[in-house]
């Protein structure tokens, strides 16, 4: 079957807050969430997920859409590796790439070079060439990834299986917000703290065992899901570094090698040097 690409319109998100700025952490302490959306500077693919004291911090910008249904579609169809082009404002014409997505209302995370980021502001229009949903690999389910970008990741596609180098393999008890939600539109927060973090970096591959994300995310013994870490940690209970699923299958079809001390698995120049 032939997959179809679509041009999607997104807008650099404007951060919003309610009348009271506080959220409550796991120990009942109030905190002000910083860096949750919009244009976030100084955070890059390859950084540790707890390197900054923010909340769900993603490297680059997040995109949204004023119409909620269009926002869900933008989130559903934008995939890792998709090209993004700024269509207005001071950075018009600049190019970036989709790293991942987040759930709930839905938002797309786009990585740009620092000099472009410095010129982007909330409200800037960005077009994403959405491509990837519907693509397939024998023996596993693929989602949320442009097949042309898989070569940027430490994956080896075999005959009916995909071997991956991952930073960590976690049991499904770490899967928090995102369980029970459609994984094509919603990342899964890993309920990690600085004390339990196995050294995850933005852009890492991580596997979660006994997790099936084909038809909503849920517990299924013997399944494995591999995803890309697309945003950093959160003090909020049930939240944490975001794993955007890209591969799901019975575990025997997704063999992994754990590389705790490996270099960042994805680097911005990987994305930016793509043809």
């Amino acid at each position: 079957m032939t997959t179809v690409a679509v041009n999607l319109s997104g807008v650099v998100e404007t951060p919003t807050m309610p009348g009271s700025p506080y959220l409550i952490d796991a120990d009942g302490r109030p905190y002000v969430p910083v860096g949750d959306s919009g244009v976030v500077l100084g955070v890059h693919v390859g950084d540790g997920v707890f390197d900054v004291d923010g909340d769900h911090v993603a490297p680059g910008v997040t995109l949204a859409h004023a119409d909620q249904a269009a926002r869900h579609a933008l989130t559903a169809f934008a995939c890792f590796g998709n090209r993004a082009v700024v269509r207005g404002g001071a950075a018009a014409g600049a190019e970036g790439f989709v790293l991942g997505k987040r759930g709930e209302e839905g938002r797309v995370i786009v990585v740009f070079p620092d000099d472009v980021l410095a010129r982007l502001v909330p409200g800037d229009p960005i077009m994403v060439r959405g491509s990837g949903q519907g693509a397939s690999i024998a023996g596993v389910v693929l989602m949320n990834a442009d097949p042309g970008a898989l070569s940027l990741l430490p994956l080896t596609i075999g005959d009916g299986s995909v071997s991956a180098v991952v930073r960590a393999v976690l049991p499904s008890s770490y899967a928090g917000n995102g369980i029970g939600r459609p994984a094509q539109m919603w990342d899964i927060d890993l309920q990690l703290t600085p004390a339990t973090d196995p050294g995850l970096r933005l852009g890492d591959l991580v596997a979660v065992d006994d997790l099936d994300v084909r038809h909503n995310a849920g517990y299924r013994r013997g399944y494995r899901t591999i995803g890309l870490i697309v945003h950093g940690g959160s003090p909020l209970p049930g939240h944490g570094p975001g794993l955007m699923p890209i591969l799901c299958a019975p575990a025997e079809n997704l063999p992994v090698t754990i590389a705790v001390d490996a270099l960042p698995m994805l680097r911005p120049d990987h994305l930016n040097s793509r043809p």
């Binding site: 409550i24 796991a26 369980i179 038809h215 849920g218 517990y219 299924r220 909020l236 209970p237 049930g238």
Partner: protein
Amino acid sequence: MAVRTNADRLVTQILAGEVWPALADRHGYRVDADGTPFLLPGMGGVTLGVHPGDRATGYEADHLEPGLSVRHRDAGANMALQFLSCVGNTVTVRSGPAAGFTGKVIGQHAYVLVDLVEEELAQVSTGDQVTVAARGQGLKLLDHPDVVAKNLDPGLLDRLPVRTRADGRLEVGVAARVPAVAVGAGAGMVSEFANTDLMGAYAGQGEDLSLGLESLRIGDLVVLEDSDHRFGRGFRPGYLTIGVISTGHCRLYGHGPGPSSILSGPAEAFHIVDDPDACLGGLL
């Protein structure tokens, strides 16, 4: 020893709500864990024939909400209704042929869920107005400072298998112990709203989905292991949360029968006792 609380310092607030209709969209189907489409009742409206003490699973239903499902039309007033209603609170029907009938809150699920005796439930319809005598948020267990109580009418606490032990721990009888891997949708949400869907209770589906929770009943007291619901809902080794099963069978994957959280704290603050009779059935 009975649990000492600050119940004498809690106020009652009367909150209005409305029996909310079941909602659907024109596409109809959802899909289950195996990709099979389904179109089933259960959520919203008036759901008949299921009460505390009855089995929670094994129905041709999705997100089964026993009894009345209640909301408020105004978003802010609705959040107050959802946050402040507590398990065990009295609900009075205020309009329609069932006006004057009373029931009890059995939990929250983005709706306040209300149990009435079956003959009276059969006379309530969507759009009927109700009031909740909301009392319970702010409840403190005076001899258990590490345990946070919420969503619990202090009058009901006295009838639950919960007591203070001589060693200072809080003894709680539970009908089931729930491993952390069972926690589904609801993780990451505030713990005064909705409930925590439990996976592994898909009666009639595959063994690879099962966590042995198919025998849960509506109203069962359960302990969620390695779960901290004191200030939200998260996985946390060494913490326990006690909940009351308020919703039943789900086909939607990652969802399932769910407990409303009522007590949470470090594991060492509790003494958990297996008690097959630990259920709201007959207590309300």
